[in-house]
Each structure stands twice: as C-alpha cells, then as structure tokens.
C-alpha cells in the first residue's frame, strides 16, 4: 500500500452492522493471498489500515533527509469498489538548518476491482488517485500547492496454476501498478510540474503458499507466514523541461502476515543520483479490519460481503 494515504476514522464509525454472509475481503484471488505491499499499490479493494508506515528516506542530492510517519485506511464501499484515504507527517533535516516537521498532504483513491480469476490467481483494478492541494506544509516541507489526479491500473498474478512438476515456482506472485500523474497546475513559484508516468512491481515468494499449498517443507511459525519480496517503483517525467528524467527505488524486504495484521520491513535503495544516495528503510504495521471487526468496520457499506 502506498505510504502517503490518510485515514478518516470518524467516517467509519457510522458503518452499519450487516448480516454475515461468506466473505473474502483482503487480497485473495482463489487460493492466493496477496499481502499488502509497502511501496507499490495493492491490486485489490479491502478493509485495511496501515498504522503507521515509518520511512527513513535515503539522503537527497542536497544532503537533506526525511523521516515520515504515514497513516492510511482502505474501506470497501461495495464488494468491488473501495476508497483509500491517506495522510503523512514528515520531519525534514537539511544540512546546517534546523529540522522542520508537519503534514505532507492528504490523498485519496477510488478503486474498482473489475477482474478476479480464482483458478489463475489473477486480479486487476482501475482507480483514480488524488493528492490534494494545500493539505500539507507547502513552504516548509515542499508539500504540493496543487492537486494531482492520477488514473491508475493495478494487477496481480500468482503462479500457483503452474504444473505440479514445477513446485518451487508455484509460490511466486507478481503485482504491478501503472499510473499517470496529471497535475492541475503546470507551475508553482517558477517550478514546472510535469506529467509523470509511474510504474512499479512487487515480486513475491510466498512461504505460506509453499508450506500450505505446495509442499509441507516443515516451516514452523513465524516462517510459514512470511513473504520475501522485492519491490521496485519508478517515475518518469514526460514533459515541461524534464522529459525522460526518471527517479525510483528498489526495495528488498519481507512481510509477515498473521490472522489480524501484518508487519513489513524493506530497505530502500535509490536507483540513481536524482533519487538520492545511501540507504533508507521502511517499516509498516498493517491491520486487517475485516478480520478484526468482521461485523462492523470489516464489511462493505453496500452490497453485503
């Protein structure tokens, strides 16, 4: 789940209590469970919450470094349509300057999971991500003074449908995101805002799938619920004097999934000088609200489970 997403907990308290019906909820496609990833977007709608996502970014080109706390909550409106609200807080320390802190901006996302193929463990989703103007500290932290709309496509595919004679490949899954940033303002204080093409992938090897669906290799808790993964995410500017410039990170890490929550940790490796230098790290605590609150928060607002 992308870090900068926000929570509107107050709105969720009004959720109706719905009659229990068989439910699937978070990241399932057939027998494949997709954990919520830390860098890239999840290809499914869900009732989940990240609280918090802690990020220490690699140092920027000018030597400054940021530490962020992000909070996001996802809520299904119907079984296939969901929203995500996100908010971030950040501490910025530049060389020779006192540290500054504050909110980094509010964002929202509306998604429609239009495709799920259980036998082939495939899922796909379209959506619109919006980061909203003047919802963070614009001058101190560089939060946006303009709104950016980003139509997106997310997808996921597990390889459990491979033949039984390829048992070690069947735990593999790949998820991906494609999106296009459309800023509603082309320039602020002399800085141009290009359209960006964003693309990211998560390459996962599910030890849970290996142990419980392919071959009992004797993995005991907590190892039988771990997913080693590598996430990559890139953003390439398309115009306004920055065409072709790309920034991105590669993030190897691991996610442990329990019954009610998951914990994930990844290293952050910048792909080039424009992105930063040195290493960063991200740690996320993520809660499955549909499991914690199966008869209230954890059900869609409309359309049953």
């Amino acid at each position: 789940m992308q870090p900068n997403r926000l929570a509107a907990a107050a709105a969720l308290t009004a959720l109706p209590l719905l009659a229990p019906l068989p439910a699937k909820a978070h990241g399932f496609a057939g027998e494949r469970f997709f954990p919520a990833t830390l860098l890239t977007d999840d290809p499914f709608v869900a009732d989940e919450m990240s609280l918090p996502t802690m990020t220490l970014d690699p140092k920027a080109v000018d030597g400054s470094q940021t530490f962020g706390l992000d909070f996001d909550v996802s809520k299904r409106l119907t079984p296939d349509i969901g929203i995500t609200l996100s908010q971030g807080w950040q501490h910025l320390k530049a060389p020779g300057m006192p540290g500054v802190m504050g909110l980094t901006g509010f964002s929202s996302e509306l998604d429609w999971q239009f495709f799920t193929n259980a036998p082939h463990e495939a899922t796909a989703m379209v959506g619109l991500h919006s980061s909203w103007a003047h919802t963070g500290r614009v001058q101190a932290l560089g939060a946006d003074d303009f709104t950016t709309l980003s139509p997106l496509v997310d997808f996921g595919k597990g390889f459990g449908d491979l033949p039984d004679n390829l048992p070690w490949l069947r735990p593999i899954a790949v998820t991906g995101n494609l999106s296009l940033d459309a800023p509603t303002k082309t320039e602020s204080a002399g800085n141009l805002h290009p359209n960006n093409f964003n693309y990211g992938f998560a390459f996962e090897y599910s030890l849970e799938y290996l142990q419980h669906h392919v071959k009992d290799v004797g993995l005991a808790p907590p190892f039988d619920h771990m997913v080693p993964l590598v996430e990559v995410s890139f953003s390439t500017a398309l115009n306004r004097g920055a065409a072709g410039q790309t920034i991105g990170t590669v993030q190897p890490g691991i996610i442990w999934s329990g019954q009610y929550m998951q914990i994930g940790a990844e290293a952050i490796i910048p792909v080039n000088r424009q992105t930063g230098h040195g290493l960063g790290a991200i740690v996320q605590l993520h809660f499955y609200l549909d499991d914690i609150f199966p008869n209230s928060f954890g059900v869609p607002l409309f359309g049953g489970k």
């Binding site: 229990p20 068989p22 439910a23 699937k24 706390l69 039984d164 914690i292 609150f293 199966p294």
Partner: protein, 122 residues
C-alpha cells in the same frame, strides 16, 4: 499526526484484537497426508487442520486423480471434538498422484479455499 495520538490509536487496536479471538480467515495449517507429501500406504482419510474454527455447513473438500477426474468420496465433515478439523473419508485408492480441493468458511464467515497434492507410492 503527532506521536502521542499515534500511540493511543495503536493501544486501542491492540486492545481490540484479543476481543476478536477465534475469528478471521481460516488458513490450512497442516494436513495428513502432508501437503505435497508421499505416503507408502493408501490413506483411508485426509485430515485438514485449519487455523480457525470452520462452519461445517459451508465447508467441503473433494478428491481428484492424476487425470483430473473427480473421485467419489463421502462428504467432508468437521470433527465434532475439533471444529478446526475437516475430515474427508476416502475410498480405496491405488498408488498414484491425487489432489485435494477444499473450501471452508470460518466462524466469522470469511471464505478461503485451496488445493494440495499427495502421492501414494507404488
């Protein structure tokens, strides 16, 4: 968000989680014969143990052979002494490759499904 409200929220959630005990998605924990295992003699039943209690009326399992054709069995049933256990009684089986397909609904109504194979030695 400052650190103090964050700590309070985490504390509230940590309080809420134990109250939801014995709920959530039911995952297969282990089975007999073991997932992907090979046994020397034909089993008379497949035992599936899940991480949560399951609803017998909405939980089932089927067996198929190496050719993918379904093999008739009795309906799978939960163990009355252990609501996390699903039992599939088997007909006499010959050596070969078999696949078990299961789906269960946990007591909080979450549905999960899965498959696994086992082999009987010649």
């Amino acid at each position: 968000m400052t650190v103090k409200p964050l700590a309070i929220l985490i504390s509230l959630l940590a309080t809420a989680i134990p109250g939801a005990a014995a709920r959530a998605h039911a995952f297969l924990d282990h089975s007999l014969p073991p997932v992907g295992g090979t046994v020397a003699t034909a089993p008379t039943e497949v035992l599936m143990f899940f991480t949560q209690p399951i609803e017998p009326a909405f939980s089932a399992a089927t067996l198929s052979g190496a050719d993918g054709q379904a093999i008739a069995t009795q309906a799978a049933a939960t163990d009355l002494q252990n609501p996390t256990e699903l039992v599939l009684k088997l007909p006499p089986l010959t050596p070969g490759h078999y696949k078990v397909s299961w789906h269960v609904v946990s007591v909080d109504t979450h549905r999960t499904e899965g498959t696994f194979s086992f082999d009987i030695q010649p």
